[in-house]
Symmetry: D5
Subunit: 125 residues, 10 copies
């Protein structure tokens, strides 16, 4: 699969740690077993390092999964990998909430913390 490039722009306030959230309720991919379409809402939340993701390219990135066959568990982890590669964020969390299949629905989430952001917990070990 060939995903489009995630464009970025410089974080306008790199010295402040603030939270950016983009929600895409119009995500669709394909079930790798049956070939039928899957539908879901993808929520991306992150604390930027030097780069912010550009919204239009993020939309194209999600759209590129339209004919891609992948398990829910796999999708969310690939998003993490791709966003970390493109943005190197201080912190990142992705959640996918998918519509019911066979009466049951699923929600998968994963997160990533940049190595230098893992702090001491402030207690004396």
């Amino acid at each position: 699969m060939d995903t489009p490039k995630l464009e970025t722009f410089p974080n306008p306030h790199p010295n402040r740690e603030y939270v950016i959230k983009h929600v895409q309720p119009e995500f669709t991919s394909v079930c790798p077993v049956t070939g039928h379409p899957d539908f879901g809402t993808i929520t991306m939340e992150y604390v930027a390092g030097d780069l912010c993701v550009e919204l239009k390219s993020l939309k194209f990135y999600y759209q590129s999964y339209r004919n891609e066959g992948a398990f829910y568990e796999d999708l969310i982890n690939r998003f993490i990998d791709d966003f970390v590669a493109a943005l190197n964020p201080k912190w990142l969390e992705i959640t996918g909430k998918f519509t019911p299949r066979g009466g049951m629905y699923s929600e998968i989430s994963a997160s990533h913390v940049r190595d230098d952001m893992i702090e001491d917990d402030g207690c004396d070990h």
Copy 2:
């Protein structure tokens, strides 16, 4: 009672601890006292170890309780036992929310943590 086998597939990203949630709003079993049907929503949330549960087999597993008589408190604990046996997850939580009986409704939840996942709390004892 003879429950169908919970099928599994290898966790595609075993090195990342991420959360998988499957919600079944169409659960029904039988009251062990009156023989009348009970209805509820079962939510399963877990951090996979080496294995993920396959969705179709999970659906069949829940369906196999359709004519089974069991107390709410018992059901949730049996789910925990069966899922731990099949998946050996790092962490698992099950919640059952059942419809009103006599004007009153009930919600039962239980969880399990794999032995090697119980960490120090980071303070000096």
Copy 3:
């Protein structure tokens, strides 16, 4: 299939046309093609003639469909037939709203008017 008898009691106010509605959100039957359980909410609304339906027997009537295989379209019409036979109501309407299958959900409704209740529409023909 052998449905339990719908018990009745005498309409306590037969001279007034008033509306009785019973909603059963805990209906379940079986898909005649796949054998999997279906779930739905059945709403019964009627103007009684001489008889009212007794609630407990209505509950047992619905429960008797638990292992019955039937199309949605068929179920709703069979309810109409059975309720008309048992109650001979002046007016009756049944609606079934079923949970999603393959992303799509369905709602079926039918009604019945007693012959002597079909009035002139008050205009001069």
Copy 4:
């Protein structure tokens, strides 16, 4: 059963036909079969004739059913009878929406039109 008197006050604008609605979400009576309490919301809507119902006495009227055993179908019709006797309204509608029993819930409604309010439908018969 001895219900308290429904107090009234003169309709302050008897020449205008306007609609008065009082909703009591805290109604409780007793099931005549099992002796267990029933709970529901009673909605009264009417166009006053010469009299309006006084709110405090309406509250006491409803409270007097607290230990009364009666079928839903009977309750709503008795309300109609009592309110017509006390107020002689031009138009009156009562709806009772009761909480679930055995998973099923019920809603009963009845109405009354004062004889002199039944008009021609304006078409030529």
Copy 5:
């Protein structure tokens, strides 16, 4: 009681019959029996004749009831009378929805049609 003048401005499109609705969720007056404050939402809907009501003066008009003791049934009818006197609208409807007292809440509505707006019903008498 001395209510402030309802200011008006010329209907900018008097030849088209369109509907204007103003909702005031911050109405308060005083119970004429107990002296305690009452709270409610007043909805005014009308088809203007030559005049529209000016919003600021409408706000002041409602505010002038802040220390006025009046029954709900009376309030709504007085609004009708005052708005008809000030605006002579083609059609007007007022609804007041008041907050619960003794567990019960009330909703009163009245309407007015200008004499020349009462048309034939289109049937042959």
Copy 6:
């Protein structure tokens, strides 16, 4: 464009006019101008003649629009045409509610009545 055949089964109760509704909240097609995906919910409501639509084939029918470029106004009318050709229903209504574009969202609906179902309106012409 090549849409899959809409499968049918015989209406199990052709003598009763009852309403069948299927809602597909997972519809997606392509904007004919920009090539970007559109998302919406398609609601089909009909009174069957001799034939009912089979649910699985309806799902495949909708899925076949996944890579089709079409205006909203056009889509809804093509659904009407295709369903009339396949089912010849007594009555049919289709509504499409589409997600926001440029802050604005759209809803299109059309209906069809079988020729022999257009009755006199009961008045004397």
Copy 7:
């Protein structure tokens, strides 16, 4: 004020009378008295004649009111006039729901029917 041209495209199914609705929740204009911004949701519903409105130009049309001072009552009627001039629809309805000012909020709606669409009411006069 200079509003941008409302672009149109030919109605793809001019022989069927179907309903098109566009909702713009992001409308803003300016209060002609205070100069402060007003905010509201504009809903346009119409049955097209030979022309449909193009969505992008409709968005630009609404945006052109951003710095325009106008009363709510005036805005809605100007929309009606402009849409009739551009589209000559068979039927058109516009509703504007504006956010609270001084605790009170307003909703204005107007409609238009093409001359040749005003039919007899089917009764014998």
Copy 8:
């Protein structure tokens, strides 16, 4: 006051600490000052020790307060005392949410922890 006995059954999984919640939205008692009925929702949440509460007896227990006069603050604490005496749970929390009186509504909650469940907070004192 004479409350019925709270029946129990052995906790089917005493080695796992799981949470049991029973919600009774149909609670009614009497105001000790005015004698008027009070209405509320009582939520009981607990981690069982050796015993679970049997649902039917819990319903009867709550019903026994129907003609009991008690302040909200007192009720919740008496529930705690009675449930601790009957079940000796590891942890217990009761919340009562009562309907508005004089425009104002109240919510009271209390909890209890079994002595042997009070752990160190994990820090070095």
Copy 9:
């Protein structure tokens, strides 16, 4: 300003720390700048010491602000001061949520902890 006395009654269970919450959605005062009425919901939550607040006197206390001019920030702090003086609670929190003015709405909250309730945080300094 002369506020009515907050009546109290002895805490019926002074040895258990439980939470009491009273919500008044019908609060109104006056803007000290414009003289126009303000509306809001006041939530009081506390852990009683030896005294509980009596509900009727709390209602009168709030009502006494009806013609008082005060900033939101000031109101909430005066409530804290008055409730502490009358009840000397172990813990107290007040939140006021006020209705929109100029499109914007405000929420203010303050809390108080009795001196002897401020504990060590359990860590070794």
Copy 10:
């Protein structure tokens, strides 16, 4: 860009740390790339130092962004900077929730703590 001055008034209770929240659901600015308007809700929450923000000037401050082109990420950080400069609050948090563009919507939040408010975490380092 020239923003109007944020007016302040002295904190009436500077010795108590309480939370002030102002929500502006009517914010609009301009996309710096396309020039089209953006819409969102801005929530400001702070613990005042010596100064509180005056509401009218806060409204004017937000309104001054009406024709300003800025990225979401930039806006929220500029608010933080301006509010810190004007108020020097002990703690401040700003969240902006913006309406969907291309099906996707965004939420950005940032916070600030006054230097002297950063306390020890109470553990022994």
